[in-house]
Every structure is written in structure tokens, then in C-alpha cells.
Amino acid sequence: AASDVNEASSYIPAAPILLPDGVWKQIPGGVTAAKGFKAAGLYGGLRAKGEKPDLALVTCDVDANVAGAFTTNVVAAAPVVYCKNVLSSTKTARAVLINAGQANAATGDAGYQDVLECANALATILQIRPEEVLIESTGVIGHRIKKEALLSSLPRLVNSLSPSIQGGDSAAVAITTTDLVSKSVAIEYEVRGTSVRVGGMAKGSGMIHPNMA
């Protein structure tokens, strides 16, 4: 598993991150920089071509307050509809599972059932409630996710979870599609003597004109 994570994190180079100036300092890492978070990314066989990692997982050790912003495109993908439903009824979550390869958009009821199955399967492995699992997908529109490949990869993905920088970096690579670089950043600042960290990862290269709410 450690080998998987290290390999995944070096598959494509990291983007130059152009942080605005402020009271913070940039620190190594991304989503795993803040306390309580683990991440992993690996190849699960979802991509049509190549063996670049395509499955990422970010988890929190505790119930985390969760917020979401989603496309306002009325033709929203199944995972978008699922996450909006979940966040309308709960304030906390423990995990987000992300696949690259298929967007699971314009896939109708079957696509939504796929999301539910994936969330349930991951919740069982993590021993949490399904509504504590959120899902993001990216890739080809109109294609359902390769569910069997995804489900069979989940135990390996969970076993690969790590609070390390490599864990976050491997997840950042695994969510990319046509991206030439991975995007991951973390900052740290002091507030009344306590260190607070904010980190993140993102992907995107084309079909980019977000209007999220």
C-alpha cells in the first residue's frame, strides 16, 4: 500500500501554487496537513486509457463539520445530486470518495443507484453511516462509473489511507483527468497562540467555468 501511495504521488508533476500574500505560511502537504485527516489515491481500473491513479479517498478521524458548493448546471451529475441531498439533512461527514474516468453525469436513475452503492460499500468498510460518505466524480459525461472496478478497489484504497504528505499528494494525482499537473496546497497560521491549518486539493483543466452555490 505504501508503495502504491508513493508511486501515485509522483505520476504527474505538481502545479506551481500562486498563493496570495498574508499572515500564513505555506507548508508541505495538501488535504492531510490539517489535524485529523488521512488520504489515499491509487489506480482502480476506472480510466479508459493508461494506469494513472483514478480513485481517491479523504477521511476524517472525527465527525467533521462539512460544507459543499455545487454546480448550478441543471443537468447535474448523480454524485452532485447525492451530495446535495446528504448535506441538506446532515451537518457532519467523515469521508469523500472521488473517482476519475467517468463523470456519472446524464446517467439517469441507474447512475444515482451507482452512487448509493458506492457510498454504502465504503461506509461498511469504514464502519460509518452511509450518509457520512460524500462522492465526487469526474471524467467522461454520459458514462456510468465502472462500479465493479471501483468496489473491488475500496479495501485496498482504505488500507492505503495515510496522514502523510504522500497520502495527500497521491489523492491529488488520482482525481486528475486531462490535467498536466496536480494541485495541492496547505497553509498554517497562528491565532491567539494556536496553530491552525487549512489545506486542499483540486483538479480541473477543461470544461471550466464554475458557477457553484
Partner: protein, 220 residues
Amino acid sequence: TMLGVITTDALVESDVWRKMVQVAVSRSFNQITVDGDTSTNDTVIAFASGLSGSNWITSMNSYEALLLQTGLDAVMQGLAKSIAWDGEGATCLIEVTVTGAEGEAEAGKIARSVAASSLVKAAVYGRDPNWGRIAAAAGYSGISFDPNNLQILLGDIMLMDGGQPLAFDRVAASNYLINAGETHGTVEIKITVGNGPGYGKAWGCDLSYDYVKINAEYTT
């Protein structure tokens, strides 16, 4: 499609966290554009674990909240800019800054209108300091301003002031664009539309032949 996952160990109340995330998204991811196509899947999920041991944030107006908001804005802007920098076929990042608008929303809308203009993006790829296209894109943004107050700079080179085109050094301006393209750097377009307090930024990239090639060959 753009996806994002944000994490923090700040201790913040749920409703406050959700407001903060939307504000930061509006200042970052919602201010980028590569090709004008809004995806079916754009999503940002943001977790706050509360494990830092910091004070409990229950109001948007507290000192702790303001610090967290600026940090959140910075992380999201850093990621958003890297998406625009990595736009399909791009040779450079375009950063548009608008000042003098009535408010932040108005400034942001003008900035994004310029960043999204296919003609501005193509001009940047062609290393053409085309102030007319920039002015036009600002003008059709849907935000009203007095064109006699319009000022446009490319980097530090002023192309237009008081609504009037200037006799600028075209070679220097073109070289500025060439250098940005050759180094995959940043082209700064600075626009002033009046004397208001509104300030906003948007980010995009130039439009190259490769964009069409990539999307003609990659099915969606």
C-alpha cells in the same frame, strides 16, 4: 470539470463554516474560466475537524473567523489559479484585476467577463496587446460604468486612460506577452472603471490551437 476538497482543523460552527466556504468559493473557483463551459460535476467539499484546539468560531465577524476566512480564501484562490494556469492548451495564466467598481460583486463580474472573452484569450495567445477587446469585454459584462473612466494596463504598461487609447510602446507590450507565454507565467490585466470601493479578480488562460486539438480528440 473542477473538483475540490478542502480540510481544516479549525473549530467552527456548522452554519458559519458553510457561509465561509461559499464566500471563499465566490472569490476563487467561481472567478476562474478556461473555456466558458460549466460542468455537470463541479463540486467543492470542505471539512472542518475542529482538532486544532483553537477557539470555537460561532460568528462570521469574530477575529478568529476573519483569519480563517482569509486563509480559506487564500487556499482556494491558490488552487483556482493553478486550474486556470493548467487550462487545456494554455501557455500562460491571465489574471484580471478590476478596481473602482461599486462593489466586490460588480468588480468580480467585470473581471470574469474579460477573463472569459475568447477574443481577449486569443489576443494573448497571439501576443497582441489588444486594449479594444479588453474594453469591449468589460463593457458587455452587464455591469454599468462610465466608459470615460476606463483605464487599462497590461502589466505595468498603460494602454488606455480616461476612456482614451494611449500611444503605448507596442513592442514592449507584446514582449511582455511573449515572455509570459514562453515561461508559462502570468499576464496581468488591470482595469479601473471608476472611483468606487469595489475590487475583484478573475483568472483565465490564453486560447491556443491545442485547446481545439485536445477537445476534438477527447470525447465527453
